[in-house]
């Protein structure tokens, strides 16, 4: 193994239903994955591996690399549970070469539907050569139906499998959901000093589904790994147990919603009784042929503008000539700044939306559309996501987030919407 987790980010949608976090009306696993990846700090080296953990929607194999400007990479997918996140981390850590690995685990609120309440979130982890949290071992199994998990066996297996000294105080974290008393007693007897955590994530409704729970478990490790040392994690649930061992050799940059002391207020929406039928949802819409959609992806998904080599002006969206001087030579792609400012904004009332947004309006109501300036010569008309309508003001700063836009020709089409800048005062 040559790579360790150097940075990690957790994205949580701004929407809730029945007290838990859910994806917004224009979010799905792809947009969650992109949102998490974009929370990571700048990558020290080029990404040469891209891993997706969990079920992926149709098209994710090409769409995620394209959205992250990693179109030359093949998406490696890790499906199956429990422990698929740890398997992905082990695979990513085993990579060699000068690059870095990205592991992204998005999870929709409805997955899996049968195992109780879950929230929507996505974790993104960056693995690089150097100090960090180094995967050492992993494993897991599903308990036979109806049987009590032999948790203590798993805790011991974790110790054996990782070679980590789990009997040292504070070096092993056991997360248990509804822990059987026998487990608590056995651990206390045989492994003095081991932390049994039945904290908020473990005791109450999980903040997220299995994959994200694993990612959240990683965050707990951070508390144990303040000094370089070996640490390990076990997670025991009524249906399955997973374990993973890590060696902490340096700090990890944690960003996003890992531990929101005061999470921002969440908005509510109601999903339609059924997803729109993508084959028929286009009948009253404007038509964008697929090749036209695809050729604009660099601009629409990654805000790629064109810088003119002749006059220096920026053109957006890029076309074959410079908007300012007409030159068609020496146009080079340049990504717009992440943050722009609102030059104008309107609230589109229900009924005034183009037909493409009928389903969204039915689910979530009115929305704002803003004219946002990112640089001289580069404005975008952007629908506003996540904020209550009517709250954005001229002069506010916004950034962008990839979202579902409209269904056409049997697929969802995606583009960027304006979202609030994290940390900025609520408008």
């Amino acid at each position: 193994m040559t790579r360790a987790i150097a940075a990690a980010a957790l994205y949580r949608p701004a929407w809730e239903r029945d007290g838990r976090t859910v994806e917004g009306p224009d979010e799905d696993a792809l947009t969650l994955a992109v949102a998490a990846a974009e929370l990571l700090p700048p990558r020290p080296q080029p990404v040469d591996e891209l891993h997706w953990v969990g079920p992926a929607p149709a098209g994710a194999d090409w769409a995620l690399p394209e959205a992250l400007d990693l179109g030359h990479l093949t998406l490696r997918r890790h499906v199956g549970e429990p422990g698929s996140l740890y398997r992905a981390l082990a695979a990513a850590a085993a990579a060699s070469g000068p690059g870095v690995s990205l592991v992204i685990a998005p999870e929709m609120s409805g997955v899996p539907p049968a195992s109780g309440p879950h929230g929507a979130a996505a974790a993104a982890l960056l693995l690089a050569d150097g100090p960090g949290l180094r995967p050492r071992a992993h494993g897991g199994r599903r308990h036979p139906r109806g049987s009590l998990p032999d948790a203590l066996t798993w805790v011991r297996a974790l110790s054996a499998g990782t070679g980590l000294a789990v009997d040292r105080p504070g070096r092993l974290l056991v997360r248990a959901v509804r822990p059987p008393p026998v487990l608590l007693a056995a651990v206390a007897r045989d492994l003095p000093g081991v932390v049994i955590d039945t904290g908020p994530d473990a005791a109450g409704p999980p903040a997220a589904g299995p994959m994200i729970a694993e990612a959240l478990g990683l965050w707990d490790l951070l508390a144990l790994a303040e000094a370089p040392a070996c640490v390990a994690l076990a997670r025991i649930e009524p249906e399955s147990s997973v374990f993973a061992g890590f060696e902490a050799t340096g700090p990890v940059a944690w960003t996003g919603a890992w531990n929101e002391a005061a999470p921002p207020p969440r908005r509510k929406w109601s999903p339609p009784a059924a997803e729109p039928d993508l084959r028929t949802a286009i009948s009253e819409g404007a038509y964008v042929p697929r090749p036209r959609y695809l050729e604009n992806l660099p601009a629409r998904w990654r805000l790629a503008a064109a810088r003119c080599g002749a006059c220096g002006a920026l053109s957006f969206p890029p076309r074959s000539t410079c908007r300012a001087c007409g030159s068609s030579a020496a146009l080079t792609a340049e990504r717009l700044p992440d943050v722009g400012h609102v030059e104008s904004v309107t609230t589109v009332a229900p009924g005034a939306q183009p037909t493409e947004f009928d389903a969204q309006v039915a689910a979530a109501g009115a929305y704002d559309v803003a004219m946002v300036a990112f640089a001289p010569g580069a404005r975008l008309t952007l629908q506003v996501a996540d904020l209550p309508p009517g709250t954005l003001r001229i002069g506010d700063s916004v950034r962008t987030s990839l979202r579902r836009l409209y269904p056409m020709d049997g697929e969802w089409r995606y583009g960027r919407k304006a979202v609030p800048v994290p940390g900025a005062p609520a408008p």
Binding site: V288, P317, S344, A349, A352, Q353, T381, G390, I394
Partner: protein, 390 residues
């Protein structure tokens, strides 16, 4: 500028509104009325060229709609060209007709505008109402035209302090004017409070800031000026035409509060006519939304940037004021059958400059301006009319 001039010798207009008539009947009525209005009569066989302005709303006859005009105007055999520049379709059709005459290629030209909008199912109508905006960057960001003009309005308010009351006054005035126009869609007076309290469509624009969906047709007959004098004693001369284009999407234009296409069209038309905004007796401007009239007044040179609100609230743009604007009720209250509007504006100039506008007559009207905008300003025409002197 020397050269041959074109003049209007006849004009016809249907009612505007939610009408039982279909597109063929509307065209036939407008054309029949135009021919009937020529004082000394005009044989249809003398028409050398015809132009039809139409968006093709609903797609009922999207391709080759020119043949419908040939049939209903009973000029089959005459070359007919359909012109499509969204809401400015007939403005550009008129301009093409003027050019045909000024160039000497034609002596008599029929220009008609048509739209049939209210017989379309609701979802399909909303589709068609958005087809002339930038599809990928505006429509699919969630904007129809109300939303695009709302962005213009919000920015105009922020830059110039334009008060909501000034927008409301545009609607109040144009509704007042429309009460005097038997062809208008609305004959109901409204108050500023009504406008301000109406449900928002795309804030800051509300329902009463928006023009309606309308059916209707209008037609004018043009002739070389020397021929026009043989057909009527009171032709209305086309003093100048101008037109301009701009980026399709608002986001690509340098200014959010001014339409460069209008400014270019106006400069060209004033230059061609040899006179400017200070000599205009009344103006027909493209008020698809109330903010559009304010922006137009500034772009056409009637007010400085930011000055249209004051001009409007002062009452100067009402009938009887210094510069009556939209004496026929404008798009806002007369109605806006998309492809017909440019021809309807020319019809109003024809009536007013011949002193035949009835209760809405602008006293002493000698020069008129018509301003027709496509979409949010990707295209625009300005046409100047004057009483044809000896």
């Amino acid at each position: 500028m020397a050269g041959r001039r074109a003049a209007m010798v006849g004009a016809g207009h249907t009612r505007f509104g939610v009408l039982p008539e279909g597109p063929r009947e509307l065209l036939r009525s407008a054309c029949d009325a135009a021919f009937a209005s020529v004082d000394r009569g005009l044989e249809r066989s003398r028409v050398d060229e015809a132009y039809l302005g139409s968006l093709g709303f609903s797609g009922w006859q999207l391709g080759n709609a020119s043949a419908i005009l040939a049939e209903e105007a009973r000029v089959v055999g005459t070359p007919v060209t359909r012109v499509e520049n969204a809401c400015a379709s007939a403005g550009f059709a008129l301009r093409s007709g003027v050019h045909a005459i000024e160039s000497g290629a034609a002596d008599i030209v029929l220009v008609a505008g048509l739209e049939k909008m209210t017989d379309v199912a609701s979802a399909r109508r909303r589709y068609w109402l958005g087809v002339s905006g930038d599809t990928e960057w505006e429509r699919l960001a969630g904007l129809t035209f109300a939303g695009v003009y709302a962005l213009i309005a919000a920015r105009h308010m922020a830059e110039h302090g334009t008060p909501p009351e000034a927008l409301a006054e545009v609607a109040v005035k144009n509704h007042e004017h429309a009460r005097l126009n038997p062809n208008a869609q609305f004959h109901k007076a409204i108050t500023r409070a009504d406008v301000l309290a109406a449900p928002r469509v795309a804030a800051p624009l509300g329902l009463l800031d928006c023009c309606p969906v309308s059916d209707g047709a209008a037609a004018v007959l043009l002739a070389g000026e020397e021929i026009a004098r043989t057909l009527t004693d009171t032709p209305v001369r086309i003093a100048g035409t101008g037109a301009g284009s701009d980026f399709l999407a608002l986001q690509e234009r340098p200014s959010l509060t001014s339409l460069a296409a209008t400014r270019r069209a106006a400069a060209q038309a004033y230059r061609r006519a040899g006179w400017g905004p200070e000599r205009v007796s009344f103006a027909e401007v493209h008020d698809c939304f109330t903010i559009a009239e304010l922006v137009a007044l500034e772009d056409l040179g009637f007010a400085a940037p930011g000055g249209a609100a004051e001009l409007t609230t002062s009452g100067a743009t009402r009938l009887g004021g210094r510069l009556p604007v939209n004496p026929d009720g404008g798009l806002k209250a007369k109605g806006h059958p998309i492809g017909a509007t440019g021809a309807s504006q020319a019809y109003e100039a024809f009536q007013q400059l011949r002193g035949a506008a009835g209760r809405r007559q602008v006293r002493g009207a000698e020069r008129a301006l018509a301003h027709n905008v496509g979409g949010s300003g990707a295209s625009a025409t300005v046409t100047l009319f004057e009483v044809s002197g000896p």
